[in-house]
């Protein structure tokens, strides 16, 4: 188990190092932060002063080494645009994002999984077709289109809910629904597929033939076996909690991590982008690790296989 965990952690560290390096190269080669942040009308001497103040006039490899070294010492740097520590800026935005993504995740799970199970259990019925039609619609409509549609109906036409901002809990309803609908659709499709595959297995037929009540067959045999692909998707969704609302936060003017990321990338504000990427990579890696561990819990064969390997 220790070797397994060590291996995963080393791979995670390598992944994060590659993410940091990739982001540095892409951001620094695609624009000069000084020119972008100072704007089109900035006097050249102001742009040069900005470059010098932030060390942007040094060779790129020196900037990279300095940045990477700082990260290794736990210093994620300061925002060139804001002047404050990048970690402070990002930390300020996390609660706003979680206020959307956690309720949205609850919606995804509470609608997507039951809908997928129901559709699989009633395969080819009207219910199945209805669920799948809605799932396809929810899956294919981009979130910015869905968000604007919801705003047009519920804010502009009916006047029931605000169209954007973060002043009250009512402002969170439409963005949460926008995110929840798309994720629920994805989960419903995956859950249905997984359930259908499991329901076609011989051990399900055997259990039914032995006279095990159908409910017990579903709960005791089908669901645990079908859970593995669903857990993988859920793990991905949990990993996206921090920065999974980029588009929705922009459409609804919600001041979360996603919007901060958009602004930071636009300004080539490297420290902030890197800080968010590290956070996202960290949560994604942690989430995948938990999912890997859950595989063992859900499927005894995997557990036995790992122990056998050890």
């Amino acid at each position: 188990m220790l070797r397994f965990l060590t291996g995963r952690l080393l791979r995670a560290a390598l992944t994060i190092a590659m993410v940091v390096t990739f982001a540095f190269i892409v951001l620094r080669l695609s624009g000069d932060p000084a020119q972008i942040i100072m704007g089109a009308d900035a006097p050249p001497e102001a742009v040069e002063a900005f470059r010098a103040a932030w060390g942007l006039d040094a060779p790129l490899w020196q900037q990279y080494l300095r940045y990477f070294g700082a990260i290794l010492h736990g210093d994620l740097g300061r925002s060139m645009r804001d002047g404050r520590d990048a970690i402070t800026l990002v930390a300020e935005r996390i609660p706003a994002t979680l206020a959307l993504t956690i309720p949205a995740l609850v919606i995804k799970l509470s609608i997507g999984i039951p809908a997928g199970i129901l559709a699989a259990l009633h395969r080819n019925s009207l219910l199945d077709r209805l669920v799948m039609a809605l799932a396809v619609a929810g899956f294919t409509v981009p979130s910015f289109v869905l968000g604007l549609l919801l705003v047009l109906v519920f804010a502009v036409q009916l006047g029931w809910l605000p169209s954007g901002g973060q002043e009250s809990w009512r402002h969170a309803i439409l963005p949460i629904i926008t995110m929840g609908v798309g994720g629920a659709a994805v989960l419903a499709r995956f859950t249905r597929s997984a359930m259908l595959e499991v329901l076609g297995q011989s051990y399900i037929r055997t259990a039914s033939a032995k006279g095990v009540p159908w409910r017990d067959v579903v709960w005791g045999h089908a669901l645990p076996n079908a859970a593995i692909p669903t857990v993988t998707i859920v793990g991905f969704m949990v990993g996206s909690l921090i920065a999974g609302a980029v588009v929705v936060e922009s459409v609804f003017s919600w001041p979360g991590v996603g919007r901060l990321l958009v602004v930071a990338v636009g300004n080539r504000d490297l420290a902030v982008v890197q800080c968010i990427l590290l956070l996202v990579a960290g949560t994604m890696v942690a989430s995948n690790l938990v999912v890997d561990l859950l595989y063992g819990v859900l499927d005894p064969r995997l557990r036995a296989g790992k122990m056998g390997a050890q």
Binding site: P43, P44, D82
Partner: protein, 521 residues
């Protein structure tokens, strides 16, 4: 604390809610694309349309600008000013101006604001302004020597060298008057820059960068009690979301509306779109370093191939104007009213290309996606107009400014705009195109005679001579050896509730003072 002070404070504390309740003035909410570029409200760091929009709400200069009128200079925090000589301007300060912290503006506040650590550095650790802010200040006041407090109520701005444009420079928002005490007691520069203490009609109540900026009425404002109790600027980056926020009644104003969205708003009787041309001119910049554009005949052909009037009528519905070169009417006696832009003449363009020996070589044109209003459709139309005379201009969409100005063989034509920061060519032509301007510092264009004329324009105090010099400069940079081509005067469109009486300025600032805001009808 003395017993009397305690009782007074307690009384004020109890009375405050009652006073707030009795304030029946409406509040305003405004959806903007961006509140602040630098996440501060300190004017040297906010030298763009974004910062100009709000700065006059909280801070003012000694010399004001008639934003609703002819953009001329009007009394601001100074009631009068006079030239002592070609280097010195003396100001009579407005008496009894209360700052947002309750103190009365003093001559020391003025001297600090225009000549102290805020603009020129030397503050204690933690309060030193960023290097780029200091660079902007030096650029605004390149010849600054010192501020003199003659006596309480009278100050002098002393320049090292003669400069006819001093009043214009001082009228810019870089030199707004802010509280010296506020600066010196702030926790650090960032804290100061996020809540500057000025004299404007509204004081900064709360600033949440990238989210909202809230102002409260400064009831002791010298220009009259502000008509709105609070003004909140909400940052709404998406244009569709800004329009939705307006139509749903959540905001009273929505700014930065592109012309193609105007009919959607104007269909609704409750709203209207107001807009006006502002003190900014859109131009196309030519890179003389590009192998094809090195030949001025090709650049001249580019200028003759564009039907600007057609673009204004079709893409702008006639809502802006074509300026006479890089100048605006508010230049006063420096305005050359008879100046003509290169005329639309496809035949002349073709003739010039033949003379230049142009063989259809590609000319890159770097463009951002609607950073400027109508930028992309204008670029697409122009590319077709150029094609019709035989010019092979290749549109290259860029993501940011850095990519647009990046030197190299692939830089040929690019979009830009020039703001006229004060009423003299020095505040636009020289600032942008002169030897120290972006155009020449970026090695896109230079001309020896033009640069000599720049020196004459900046240093001469003979107005008649300056007019001659300016005309010759225009001849060089717009006709003979084109460095840019004027497109149109920039315009801003603001959607608003029809029942709010408000007029847009002829610049970026939004004026919500008693003189320009009313409710009902």
């Amino acid at each position: 604390m003395q017993r009397r002070d305690f009782m007074t404070a307690a009384g004020l504390g109890l009375a405050a809610p009652a006073l707030a309740q009795s304030d029946t003035r409406p509040s305003l909410t405004i959806a903007v694309q961006k509140i602040s570029n630098s996440n501060t409200l300190e004017t040297p760091r906010e030298q763009s349309n974004v910062g100009f929009r709000v700065s006059s709400l909280y801070a003012e200069s000694l010399i004001g600008t008639d934003w609703l009128g002819n953009l001329g200079q009007v009394p601001g925090l100074a009631t009068a000013w006079r030239r002592i000589d070609e280097r010195v301007v003396e100001f009579d300060l407005r008496a009894g101006v209360q700052m947002h912290d309750g103190r009365i503006m003093s001559a020391e506040d003025v001297a600090f604001s225009l000549g102290g650590a805020r603009l020129f550095g030397g503050a204690s650790a933690g309060r030193e302004p960023p290097a780029d802010a200091l660079a902007v200040a030096r650029r605004t006041f390149p010849g600054f020597e010192r501020m003199e407090v003659v006596r309480q109520g009278v100050v002098r701005f002393v320049n090292r060298v003669p400069d006819v444009t001093l009043e214009g420079r001082i009228a810019q928002n870089v030199g707004v008057v802010l509280s010296r005490q506020g600066f010196e007691t702030a926790e650090n520069w960032q804290a100061w820059a996020r809540r500057p203490i000025g004299t404007g009609p509204y004081r900064v109540a709360e600033f949440r960068p990238d989210v909202a900026l809230t102002f409260e009425a400064h009831d002791s404002y010298w220009g009259g009690r502000p008509p709105a109790r609070r003004i909140r600027f909400n940052e709404v980056p998406e244009v569709a979301s800004r329009i939705n926020a307006l139509l749903s009644g959540e905001t009273d104003f929505a700014t930065d509306i592109p012309p193609d969205q105007l009919p959607i708003i104007e269909r609704n009787a409750r709203f209207e779109v107001v807009g006006s041309a502002v003190n900014n001119i859109r131009v196309l910049v030519f890179d003389k370093g590009h192998p094809v554009l090195r030949n001025p005949l090709v650049r001249r052909a580019l200028t003759h191939a564009i039907d600007h009037r057609m673009i204004i009528e079709s893409l702008w519905s006639g809502r802006t104007e074509i300026t006479r070169g890089l100048q605006l009417g508010f230049f006063g006696d420096m305005y050359l009213a008879d100046w003509e832009n290169p005329r639309f003449d496809p035949a002349e363009a073709r003739r010039l290309l033949r003379e230049a020996g142009y063989r259809g070589e590609a000319i890159p044109y770097r463009c951002l996606n609607n950073y400027y209003v109508n930028q992309t459709p204008t670029a697409q139309v122009m590319v077709e107009m150029w094609r019709s005379v035989g010019l092979n201009v290749q549109l290259q969409m860029m993501e940011n400014w850095s990519q647009v100005v990046e030197p190299g063989a692939m830089r040929g034509i690019r979009d830009w705009s020039v703001t006229h920061v004060f009423s003299d060519p020095v505040g636009s032509m020289l600032r942008a195109m002169g030897p120290l301007g972006e155009l020449q510092r970026g090695q896109e264009w230079t001309n020896a005679e033009f640069n000599q004329l720049c020196t004459a324009l900046e240093s001469s105090t003979d107005r008649a001579r300056r007019r001659v010099v300016f005309r010759r400069m225009l001849e060089i940079i717009e006709r003979e050896d084109p460095g840019y081509m004027v497109l149109n005067q920039a315009a801003t469109f603001i959607a608003k509730r029809r029942d709010i009486r408000w007029r847009p300025a002829r610049g970026w600032p939004m004026d919500f003072s008693a003189a320009n805001l009313g409710f009902g009808g």
